[in-house]
Point group: C2
Chain length 325, copies 2
C-alpha cells in the first residue's frame, strides 16, 4: 500500500518501508511533538509538528498526558498506524541507559519516572530518552553548526546554562548521563550565590534571569525585566546593563576556556536566548575564552544553527539510531 | 630458533613469535628505556629497564642520544635483534597523530621534533608517541587503579599538574592531543599569579614547588624547601604548612568537582609526589570535590597504583596497540 502525500508543500512517498520517527520535547514551559522520516530529516523538515504550553500547575502526569495526546494526534493526522521509533528530549537529568527521568527542576512528580517504558507501552515501538542538552548537541552536530566536526561542546545559555558533548563523532554523556553541566562549574568562588548553593557558577553569572535580577537589585526601582531586556539596554549604551552583560559573557568565556584546557574539543556551539545578545557579548565571550586557554589549545566558538528546535532534531536523530539498532 | 631465558628470576620463552615492546619515557629530569613482552606486560614486569638522569645542560639532541643508547643497550643485553614496536611517553605537548613533539617546558630544542619518525628510522619498527599524562592514564586504566572503569581522569600532582582522560574505555586526547590540562583550569581568578600568566590555576595552588615557594615567601627566612617538606611540616602540626597544603588540596578538589560536572567520569586517579601528602590532603581534596559537584554527579577519587612507572606502562600498552595495528 503505497501512498503519495503532499505535506508542507512537499511530495512524499510513505509506504510500509518508510521509517517514521515520532519525537517529543519536554521543555521547561513547552511541550512539543513532531513527526519526521529519513527523507524529511535530511531536509530538516517535519511531517507534522504540534506545540503546547505546559500550564503553571503542570505535573509529570499532566505533561505526559499532553505529550501522548499530541503524539496520537500527529499519527492520526498523517494516517500512520505506528511510529518506527520514538525519540525524546527531556529538560532535566535522565538515566540514558534505562530511559528513566531522575527529576525535573521545573515540574513536580518526575522523580524516577520510567519515561521510555511508559511511552513504549503507549506507542508500541522502541523509545530512546536523552536530556535536552545532549539531544541538542547531537542535533547541532548532525544538522546544524557542528556538521563535520569530530568534537564539540554545545552550550545553551538561556534561563539556565546546560551543555552536551560530542567526542569522537558521537555523544559523550558521562557515566550517569550528567556530562556537560558547564553551568555549575565555578568560575569565581567569591562571586554571587547560585541556586545550587555554590558561589560564582557560570549559570549564576551568565544566564538571563540572573541578569534581570542583578539589574533590578542594583537599580532599585525597575521590576519585571528580562535577560533580553538587559541585553537591549546594553546595546543602547546603558552602563549598568553593559557591565552585567560583560560580566556574564566573561564568566561563560572562563567556563569555555577551562573546558577547552580540560577536554580540547574542536568547537563550541552556543545556543539559547542569551546567545542572541549581540556583538559585545560575543566578542567578550570569545576573548575571555581565548585568554583562559593555553596557547597550544585552539577552538572556535560559533552560534547554534537550529534555534529552539535543536533538542527536537537531536531526538529525531536518536530515534533513527534506535530504529537502526 | 627458540630460546629459554631466565630474566629477573623468571623463565621466559622468546622466539620469532614473541612481540617485544621497547618503551621510552622522556621525563622532566629522567630518561628511561624498558623492554617487555605480552607475557611480562600482563604481570607488570620488565625484561629490562634502564634509567639515567638528564643533565641540567640537556638539549633535545643529547636526551635523544641518551634514550637511543639505552634502547640499543637493552636490545643487546637481551640478544633481541629488533623490537616489534616502540612506545614513547613524552613529558610535554605532542601531536599524537604524527608523533611530533610540540615543545618541552624543561629542555630546549624539542620544538616540532619528529620523534616518532626519528625513532622509527633508528629502531626499524613502528613507533607511537603520546604525552606522559595520557600514557599514564592508559597505564592506570589497563594495569592500575582504573582497571574495570569505563571512564576516568588520571591526574598527576607533582612539579606540575597534568591529566589524561579515558572515556568509553579508551584514551580521549582532544583534537590536538591537549586534553586533560586540569592544571591550567582557573579555580580562583583573584588567586596568585601562575607561570602561564593567569591567576589561580589549579597548578599554581596545588603543585609542590609552589607550596615550597609560598611557605618561603611567608616565612621569610627558610630556603631550599620542597613540596614534600611542606607536607611533612603540615603533618607535624605546622600551621602555615597546614594552611598552604589545605589551600592546594581545595584548589585541586574544586578543579576535580568542575571536571566531574563537565564530563561526569566514574573515577579520578591521583598520582605524583603531592598525592603522597597524607590524610589531611586526601580528606580535603575529596570533600572539596564533593562540595563542587552537583548532587546527581557521583565519582570516586583514588590513589594511582603504578607510581612513577605509570607513563612507561602506558607506553608499553600503546606499543602493543601499535603492533596489533
Amino acid at each position: 500500500m503505497e501512498e503519495q502525500s503532499t505535506i508542507n508543500g512537499e511530495q512524499l512517498t510513505i509506504n510500509k518501508m518508510t521509517s517514521l520517527y515520532l519525537v517529543f520535547d519536554f521543555g521547561g514551559s513547552k511541550l512539543t511533538a513532531a513527526l519526521t522520516t529519513d527523507e524529511l530529516l535530511a531536509k530538516q523538515r517535519w511531517l507534522g509538528h504540534h506545540r503546547e504550553f505546559s500550564p503553571l500547575a503542570a505535573t509529570a502526569v499532566t505533561d505526559l498526558k499532553t505529550i501522548i495526546r499530541l503524539g496520537r494526534k500527529l499519527l492520526a493526522e498523517t494516517g500512520v498506524a505506528r511510529a518506527t521509533a520514538v525519540g525524546v528530549s527531556f529538560g532535566g537529568p535522565v538515566d540514558y541507559q534505562t530511559g528513566t527521568v531522575r527529576l525535573s527542576h521545573h515540574v513536580p512528580g518526575w522523580e524516577n519516572m520510567p519515561l521510555a517504558e511508559t511511552l513504549a507501552a503507549e506507542f508500541g515501538c522502541p523509545v530512546i530518552v536523552d536530556n535536552d542538552a545532549n539531544a541538542a548537541a547531537l542535533g547541532e552536530h548532525r544538522l546544524g553548526s557542528g556538521q563535520g566536526f569530530d568534537s564539540l561542546l554545545y552550550v545553551t545559555v538561556s534561563t539556565g546554562v546546560g551543555g552536551g558533548w560530542i567526542l569522537n563523532g558521537r555523544p559523550w554523556r558521562g557515566h550517569e548521563t550528567m556530562a556537560g553541566e558547564i553551568g555549575h562549574t565555578v568560575v569565581d568562588p567569591a562571586g554571587p550565590l547560585c541556586l545550587c548553593g555554590k558561589r560564582g557558577c557560570v549559570e549564576r553569572l551568565a544566564s538571563g534571569p540572573y541578569w534581570a535580577a542583578d539589574y533590578e537589585a542594583e537599580q532599585g526601582r525597575v521590576r519585571g525585566l528580562s535577560g533580553k531586556r538587559v541585553a537591549e539596554l546594553a546595546a543602547q549604551g546603558d552602563e549598568r546593563a553593559r557591565r552585567i552583560l560583560q560580566r556574564g559573557a566573561r564568566a561563560l568565556g572562563v567556563g569555555l576556556g577551562n573546558a577547552a584546557n580540560l577536554v580540547n574539543p574542536r568547537l563550541f556551539v552556543l545556543g539559547g536566548g542569551v546567545a542572541k545578545s549581540g556583538k559585545l557579548w560575543w566578542r567578550t565571550v570569545r576573548q575571555s575564552a581565548r585568554e583562559m586557554a593555553l596557547p597550544e589549545v585552539h577552538f572556535e566558538i560559533v552560534p547554534a544553527a537550529l534555534a529552539d528546535d535543536a533538542p527536537l532534531w537531536g531526538a529525531a536523530v536518536l530515534a533513527r539510531m534506535k530504529a537502526e539498532g
